[in-house]
């Protein structure tokens, strides 16, 4: 081991050396950052865990999910001042997500992974990189609409132009399609993948996830592209997950600064309460999952809070035990240190198929798949030890649900059930914009008269790519796929 003291305490030698060997340029050759590994040392397996965890923590468990859950009234935070919970956003609020989570982080590093994998002929890593890019790009497109892609990440272009949301969705589908091809090829050549902390190197599941995403996006574009999307969605669902065992669940650790992002948000920022709207909706279905979603009061009740109000901590139910006061349920809760966040799960695919059949007028299959989705969600929660249920409980719940006979009412029910199953996920906000369901109330104090249609463009492009930033009103300008 290098002795630090000997390094530090020989300045006299340094002086002599420097004066004698002034011509020797080696003395000045100390500008290589000793804390950074070299480019060749950062291989695919070194990049991958960072990308996966940034994706999980910052995107599917981060600001986008919080926005979705607050705006669709799944959760509530205290306060009457201007902010996310009262429907106000500024360019600065969404800057971190754009600048640090997407473009300089997940998207760039996934692209870098794709490049390195391309050079090394590792089709598996390349396929994974494409799926990740497609997913991250869809989040970008869904929240902002137009965004740079075709000119992004090009060292010769300092101010990339913005591609429309429609163009981005073409890119997304191509990335997924190509990813599926490459993943298939890698499977055939039995390529081994290291550092995959989502699927443990199971490329078959990566391929299924690519189809799951294609199903999600097929349905996303149904009002933009028409009924044919329903068939596509159903077809993709069939190529995708066959049970909860295939879920893309990213697991966190029961350890400080390695734990679930929702726990961290509650622990470090804010008390997070279940929303009164969510409680009432679930109570209207007599939904037993409610006790898994929030803490019970001492009297056993679950009391929701409303955004835009001052919420009393001691009288309202929180969604995580972290800063909780009062009596706790004996069960585990939905949001624990080691709870996973789902990139996409089997239950969601069932709801997508249900909606697909509904559009095709096949009400039987719509009901069947919706109930499969609900059952899958019950089982998923139960498997986490959060709910203690047997099959008859689920059957009772499902039997009580009478599936409607019109498209509109059917969609309302499917989306409401998808909304409950998608607790703390991004999809409820996308579904709300696309279908108008569930019928979410405005916060008690709201600084805008509707739930915003998108995010405002962030500070970074406003300041550094001014001429290319589209002029939109984030509150009222709908995104392209929002055409119902």
């Amino acid at each position: 081991m290098k002795n630090l003291y000997s390094t530090y305490l020989k300045p006299s030698t340094i002086l002599l050396l420097a004066l004698l060997l002034q011509g020797c340029s080696d003395y000045l050759d100390v500008n290589t950052n000793p804390d950074s590994p070299s480019d060749y040392q950062v291989t695919e397996e070194v990049l991958l865990p960072g990308i996966l965890s940034e994706f999980s923590y910052e995107l599917v468990g981060g600001y986008f999910a919080r926005t979705s859950s607050l705006w669709t009234a799944q959760v509530a935070v205290t306060g009457e001042s201007r902010g996310l919970s009262t429907l106000v956003l500024q360019d600065t609020d969404v800057n971190n997500s754009w600048e640090f989570s997407l473009y300089t982080s997940v998207l760039k590093n996934a692209k870098l992974l794709e490049q390195k994998a391309g050079v090394n002929q590792n089709k598996g890593y390349s396929g994974i990189a494409k799926v990740i890019q497609a997913y991250a790009l869809s989040i970008t497109a869904d929240f902002w609409g137009a965004a740079p892609w075709s000119q992004a990440f090009d060292p010769s272009i300092r101010k990339p132009s913005f591609d429309s949301q429609e163009e981005l969705y073409l890119v997304i589908d191509t990335l997924l399609k190509d990813g599926i091809t490459e993943l298939g090829a890698a499977l055939e050549s039995s390529e081994t993948i290291e550092g995959d902390i989502l699927y443990g190197g199971d490329l078959l599941k990566w391929g299924e996830m690519a189809y799951a995403l294609r199903a999600r996006y097929a349905m996303r574009l149904i009002y933009a592209k028409g009924q044919g999307q329903a068939d596509l969605a159903i077809a993709y669902v069939e190529e995708s997950f066959s049970s909860n065992a295939d879920n893309a669940s990213f697991v966190f650790e029961d350890k400080e600064s390695a734990n679930n992002p929702w726990v961290q948000w509650e622990d470090k920022w804010n008390d997070v309460f279940i929303n009164k709207f969510m409680v009432e909706l679930m109570e209207s279905y007599q939904d037993p999952r409610l006790i898994a979603f929030a803490l019970q009061q001492t009297d056993g009740n679950i009391v929701g809070g409303e955004n835009g109000t001052v919420i009393q901590l001691s009288a309202t139910s929180q969604v995580s035990i972290h800063t909780a006061v009062g009596a706790l349920n004996a069960n585990k809760y939905f949001v624990e240190n080691d709870s996973s966040v789902d990139w996409i799960s089997f239950d969601e695919l069932m709801f997508i198929a249900a909606e697909g059949y509904l559009f095709k007028g096949d009400y039987d299959n719509a009901e069947l798949f919706m109930k499969r989705g609900i059952r899958a969600n019950f089982e998923k929660i139960a498997s986490q030890g959060v709910l203690i249920l047997d099959d008859t409980d689920i059957d009772d719940y499902l039997n009580n649900i009478v599936f409607p006979t019109t498209l509109e009412a059917g969609q309302k029910m499917i989306i409401e059930q998808k909304y409950i199953a998608g607790f703390l996920q991004i999809e409820p906000y996308n579904d709300y914009r696309r279908t108008g369901y569930p019928e979410v109330p405005l916060p008690v104090t709201a600084f805008n008269n509707q739930i915003p249609e998108r995010f405002p463009y962030p500070t970074n492009p406003i300041l550094n790519n001014t001429e290319n930033v589209p002029d939109v009103d984030y509150v009222s300008d709908k995104v392209w796929w929002d055409q119902k």
Binding site: P11, S36, V46, G50, Q90, V251, Q312, P461
Partner: protein, 1016 residues
Amino acid sequence: MKIKNYFFSVFLMLSSMTILNAQNKVHTGKVVDQDSNPLPGVNVIVKGTSNGTQTDFDGNYSIDVATGQILIFTYLGQRPEEITVGSSLIIDVRMEEDAQALNEVVVVGLGQVKDPSKLAYSVSQVDTDQVLKANEADLINGLAGKSAGIQINNSSGLAGSSSRIVIRGVSSLNFGNEPLYIIDGVPISNTENDIDASDPDQALFYGSTAGGSIDIAPDQIKDITILKGAAASAIYGSRAANGVIVIQTKKGIKNSAPQVSFRSATTMSSIIAPEFQTEYAQGSDGVYFSGEPGRQTSLSWGPKISELDVPTYERFDIFRTGITYDNSVSVRGGMDKSSYFTSFSAYNQNGTLETSSFDRYSFLINATHNISEKFKLNAKMNYVNSFNERPFEGNGLSSIMWTVSGAPITYNLRPSVDGDGNQRLYRTNRNNPYFILDNSGSEYITNRFLPSLSLEYNVNDWISVKGTAGLDFSLNNGKVFENKGLLGTFSTGRLLLTDRKSRDFNGELIVTLDKDFSEKFTADYLLGANVFDTKDFTSFSQGSSFIIPSFYDLSNATALLTDEITTERRIVSYFGQANFGFNDFLFLTLTGRNDKSSTLPKKDNSFFYYSSSLGFDMAKAFDLRNWLDRAMLRGSYSRVGNDAPAYATTTNYIKANPSDGQHGNIDFPFRGVGSYVQSAVEGNPLLTPEFTNEFEISADLQFFKNRLGLEVSYYDRRSEDQIFNVPQAATTGFNAKFENAGSIQNKGIEATLSITPIQTKDFRWDVNVNYSKNESEVLKLAEGVESVRLAGFTNPGIFIRKGEPYGVIWTTLYKRNESGALLLDDNGYPIQGDVGNAGSVLPKWTGGATTSFEYKGLSLSMVMDVRIGGKIINLDENYNTYYGTSILTADREKDVVIKGIRESDGQPNTVAIKKDFTYWNQYAQLEEFVQKTDFIKLRNVTLAYNMPKKSLQKLGIGLSGARFGFSGRNLWIKKHDSFTGADPELSLYGSGNGQGLTNFQIPTNKSYSLTLNLTF
């Protein structure tokens, strides 16, 4: 207590050092000056021995000496006398004024001592005595108001806080703007002890820390020279681009008996508290909330307290009176070939909060020895040990001031925990300040070694060679802890230990040639080489999630994280200087320096720069010296180069660290794997050095035997090709890239007037007034870049913007029409406008005034400090107006008609509103909290008394000097009406570039000191 004992033992040892030689005979005599006035305190020493004494108040002395021995008489300002002892037992001496010694001298570049009346460029000297009177831990604080062209900002009221000093405006866009400190010829570093070196915004959430200048004990300083202009500093190299503070520590005196000095100061400090509303209780919508569970709210928008039957509590009860003890003892003396100065100084400050303290112990030994006629050796060792304990400040959940300022006065914050040991508070999501005090904090231990060695060889009477090797070796240990149960980023407990080793080595070889062409035409030259080699290594270990609460040990953590940061930089330089003088009235100085730096691209790492200065003394040239002592006109043009930050030429990989931007994150290794991802900052292999060009003209006029002096300078400094982290569209994959892009201009005027209106035998009155005005303009950032964030949030933040002065407040504004009038809605409320420029943080001008009166042994002095123009965003009020504790919410029931134009019909507004909760919560924009930092401060008032020598002698304890002083600091502040805080100097980013932002900082102090100086 230990310290005190140590003190006394040193003291006793030193006082018993009387040297007797029984074989000799007692000789006596009287020493007088050329006007036959007796000279007290003259050193009388027997040559070649350490036998010596001093004259008493009447100039009398007695000494045991043998016939044939030589007595040496020395006294400051008099020419030394050597007298061989003859047969007479009485030896009276008349000493002559030493014209050369009386002339002022200043220390300029590279340890050269020069006569300021013969300098082609201007430098500025600071009265060290005035600095000492401030009794401040950081000597920089003591400089406030005392010199034109320097701006000092004391950032916080915590013990051991850093101050920012900027000379002639900010000239580096994105990197350090601190001057270079040179102590006894060796540069030292002045970086803050970062809480977390990897996070540039730690100051926002935890407050800033102590700067490196705090390791300099003010009472060991002999003089301070400030080199403001590039003409004077260019020879010091690239690190001198922001000016140089040259400090000389005290030296020994040859041929002098040991002189023992003792100084002791005791200071009592109390906070300068901001004002709050005191009328309204906790609650919402006029309804009272008690703050107990179920009735909690962060708001103080309840009913009038007078309508309730509830007690109230003092907001600032958490603070205490701080007390500081500053003690030092020094011994100096010497023989005919050697001299020495030794000092021990102990500074112990207990701040205004229980967990705020600063202790510094400094040991200094400075010794010279003439090895032979030609060889001279100088050795110095300074060891400083300091301990700084600080609570957190700023915008973090463990910031004490957050709930001190937000708390309703109807709620008793004590006890801080309930019966179950859980925290009690009137609201959720914040911490009780008393709980914070007991359960969090930070501690910094510094062990700093500043050894230097120099060897000088006089080849002949005009060539000398000097080699100097100096080291600044610093070991800093930081400890930051937050207990389990404290809300915040680490609510399960956190301990962060940082271990920083930093080493600056400076090796220099200088050849001086002093060969005049003729009597009239003088010349001297200097040639040198320098190696600067710095290495900084920081390792940190963080343990979180405690097994046992309140046990701060890494072994008690269930999650561990360690990391290291290494920075290394080397510069090899060659330089030269030539000084020419003609007939003592025309002076020319030329300098050139070439640096090769490790931080620049290898192929292109060498750069040259220069300065040229011309001085012309009209007083001498036209023989006006009967009334005009000096009329020096100077002009200079200089160019100083600077290298790049380390490791900016390549794009780095960094450890993956998923994060939500502020509080939450995932530490890698995670789930058993590690990972690296590419950094968001793009390296640039094509970087070139940056340059600052400065043009300066000045006039230095001294009238009537220096009783009236006026110095005026004008400078224009333009920094070009500034390397900074240029922000760019993140969609390129990088949000910033190091580029040679920026350009900033600073031009200004500095003026100093010094007058001695009255000077009689017993009475003297001095006045010194200084004024500086600096205009800065960011000329260019980078192609297409309009703004760069320096500090704070993206909104509100402190930004640099093209075409604006350095540092503007960037935040949400009110909507206005083209002529700038406020636009209001039909209900009389203001309307939200865009995010934009809310004003510059830089003052338009600053000034200082010092005056002193001396009557016999009594003296009274005062220092005032003025700052006009400049804004700050007072984020406290953003929160406190929402909470309803702010003084701005005191008149909540009053009808106010906001002056402005109704947007709907363009008519003047007539509708009255109330500035109530609705106003502050819904209509007030951040612009409302942008306030003016104008102030006039009475920095210091000191009354001192020097005991007459006669009375001292009567005491018969060997005292040769005694001085008592009483002083008050920050006794009076006149603020701008718009400023609602207590002290407009508060600045969250400490000595960093991001000035103009304050948020939940510990208030600054007003203090009173008693000082005692004794010399034996």
